[in-house]
């Protein structure tokens, strides 16, 4: 059992910042956030099927400051995971593997997800609900 001198993999702190690795871990984070948000979708559907009291309770939570914060966060997570997911599907098809392409598609994901979130909430505010 005298193998404590085995080489260890480098700690995360030694790596320099890269757009590709940042988006990779953000894909996981947004995926988990969306998994949690699915609970809200189920609660909304179940509330609508249960009755006026239950439905008002769900809507009341959604329009509360915490609920709105979750909704805005979930909308950004959705657009990010959607755009970056499409980027992953292109990789699965064997396209876009050159470093220059991967960096460019990565920054496009950042731009598209921020822009789409802003447009969505501009539409929501414009509709007055």
């Amino acid at each position: 059992m005298d193998n404590t001198n085995r080489p260890l993999s480098p700690h995360i702190g030694v790596y320099r910042w890269l757009i590709t690795s940042t988006l990779s871990i953000l894909h996981r984070a947004t995926g988990l956030a969306l998994s949690v948000s699915t609970l809200l979708l189920a609660a909304w559907l179940l509330g609508a099927a249960t009755g006026a009291g239950a439905y008002q309770a769900v809507i009341g939570f959604i329009v509360s400051p915490v609920g709105l914060l979750i909704l805005v966060g979930a909308s950004y997570a959705f657009f990010f995971h959607l755009a970056n997911g499409i980027r992953h599907l292109f990789w699965d098809a064997g396209m876009g593997f050159e470093m220059e392409q991967a960096r460019a598609s990565g920054w496009s994901v950042v731009a598209v997800s921020i822009l789409a979130t802003l447009i969505l909430w501009a539409l929501v505010i414009a509709s007055g609900s």
Binding site: R28, G31, L32, L34, S35, T38, L39, L41, A42, L45, L46, A48, A49, T50, G51, A52, Y55, Q56, I59, F78, L82, G85, I86, H88, L89, D92, L120, L123, V124, S127, S129
Partner: protein, 127 residues
Amino acid sequence: MTIKTPMARALGLGSAKSGTEHWWMQRVTAVALVPLSLWFLVALLGLEGFEQAAVTAWIAQPVTAVLLLLLVGALVYHSFLGTQVVIEDYTGGATRVVTLVVIRFVHVAVAVAAVFAILKIAFGTAP
């Protein structure tokens, strides 16, 4: 030592079994979710307010109900596969086993609850 041929070992062991299915279904559900989730978002934006009556009337339309069922199915399946990979990457031992079972229970419960709610509204038995 083994007297098995390399082919016999390959057929009996290793990632060539259910690993591919997991990876593949994650992609299939991802492709399905692109149109389904965008439809859901656009449909929500087009709703005439979020009063219960308006929402249940929308869900009760056959096209809405079917698309919502497809969305919930693909979404929960995709979510389970993704969460499973994260748990397998970052946990081990008893924690991993317990978390995987809990996550499976939660996903099945969410899917059943959502599907039941959609069907109840769609078949017109909602209050």
